[in-house]
């Protein structure tokens, strides 16, 4: 998130804050019809996740409950809800925006920490081991070209990703 946006977001209500962020722009269009919830594969198997309720809580300004809760991490990112929303609320993107806020505040599940540290270290979220890399030639696969770790490090520093992660590490 750019600094100007962050400063602007500081004085806003929660729905405004979400709407001011990349991915969160459409949140206020929601009229609570529930098409998302009835399209959601996760909502069908657990009472802990319901996209309509998550949007409702956000619109009501229940920031702590939303950001510190389990629900934002239970979206499987299938985009069914977003595809079918009659109001064109980009629900999956809104949930990414909510997760981004949680991350900035250091509330992030361990698996995502692992992804972030792998990205910073290897330039990839899943590393190709030396063993697997060596085996490629016996399978008839060409050698892997080098990964752009250096470029990625500079990009992650330009977007502030590395600082976000360090902050999370301190907490």
């Amino acid at each position: 998130m750019e600094r100007a946006e962050r400063e602007k977001a500081a004085g806003l209500s929660f729905p405004e804050e979400v709407a001011s962020r990349l991915g969160g722009e459409t949140i206020k269009l929601c009229y609570q019809c529930g098409t998302c919830a009835s399209s959601c594969p996760v909502a069908k198997i657990t009472p802990n996740f319901n996209p309509r309720e998550l949007i409702k809580l956000s619109l009501l300004g229940e920031r702590d409950e939303v950001i510190s809760g389990d629900a934002i991490w239970l979206c499987c990112s299938c985009y069914n809800c977003q595809e079918r929303c009659p109001q064109k609320v980009e629900i999956a993107e809104v949930i990414y925006a909510l997760r981004n806020i949680a991350f900035e505040e250091g509330r992030i599940p361990p698996i995502y920490s692992e992804f972030a540290s792998a990205l910073l270290r290897d330039g990839r979220i899943i590393k190709v081991s030396k063993f697997v890399e060596k085996k490629r030639s016996t399978l008839g696969l060409p050698p892997l070209k080098p990964t752009g770790v250096e470029a990625l490090t500079r990009i992650l520093s330009a977007t502030g990703f590395n600082k976000l992660y360090e902050r999370r590490e301190r907490k």
Binding site: L22, L74, Y96, A97, I126, T147, G148, G160
Partner: protein
Amino acid sequence: MKRYALFLGCTIPARQPNYELSARKALTKLGIELVDLAETTCCAPPPVRSIDLETSLAVAAYNICLAEEAGLDLVTLCSGCFESLSVANNMLKGDEHLKNRINRVLSEVGKEFLGSRSVKHYLQVLVEDVGIERLKRNVSRSLSGLRAAAFYGCHALRPSGLLGLDDPERPRILDDLIEALGAESVEYRNKLKCCGGLLRGYSDELALDLAREKIINASRAGADCIVTLCPFCFVALDMGQLQMRSRYKETYDMPILHYSELLCLALGADPKELAVQTHKVKIDKVLDKVL
């Protein structure tokens, strides 16, 4: 001969040599030249988007810049890579303000996103560059008698406005490609429902519940195998079946094949050349039926 920059991503070279091998063999045999680019990185898929959307767009755009510099369109084997790169490509192409914002980040590494190239999933390359009719003419071992359950997963299809691969509610591309090989594409319940792959690692229980439902529905429809187009769906359903055995005390034996593996078999490949030992659920049932 059409040339593409092959974007491998992370999970395929790290864990699925069978996928890479079969895709390279099949595409090359069908006259598609694949170029490996140096200095690519992670595509910045949903796990990275969850951490920071701007970073994910910048990283995806950086990788597209590499293809732009090489003067090539990109082809992916992974739906996650396809989605990340296509979403970034089409968002930036359609939004000057966002493009400028991301280009400010990319200037740190001496890159500029121009929006001059397209990103394709390899199924699109098969349909658009090879063509179904030419594909059929290349089949030397018909898969007739094989009942295959096409599984599209999520990120090849949605968000459809930015991906444009097929109709998100009634896709045909994979069914048509399966039938071009002589196999039957069987209908099954909740065919388009998610495999749960992205919940693995956060909520393994929910992820496994979703994957189990896919296996059960394909079995009930009498499918001999499930055919995937994404390495994450493959893991969720293949490795997933081992985890289902211990969690639900139920035994499943549903072979999961990448479409490219099925394609290689139809093009006459010897299974010994395809690293099929990578599969957790053995695919012998399928081989017995088609060889």
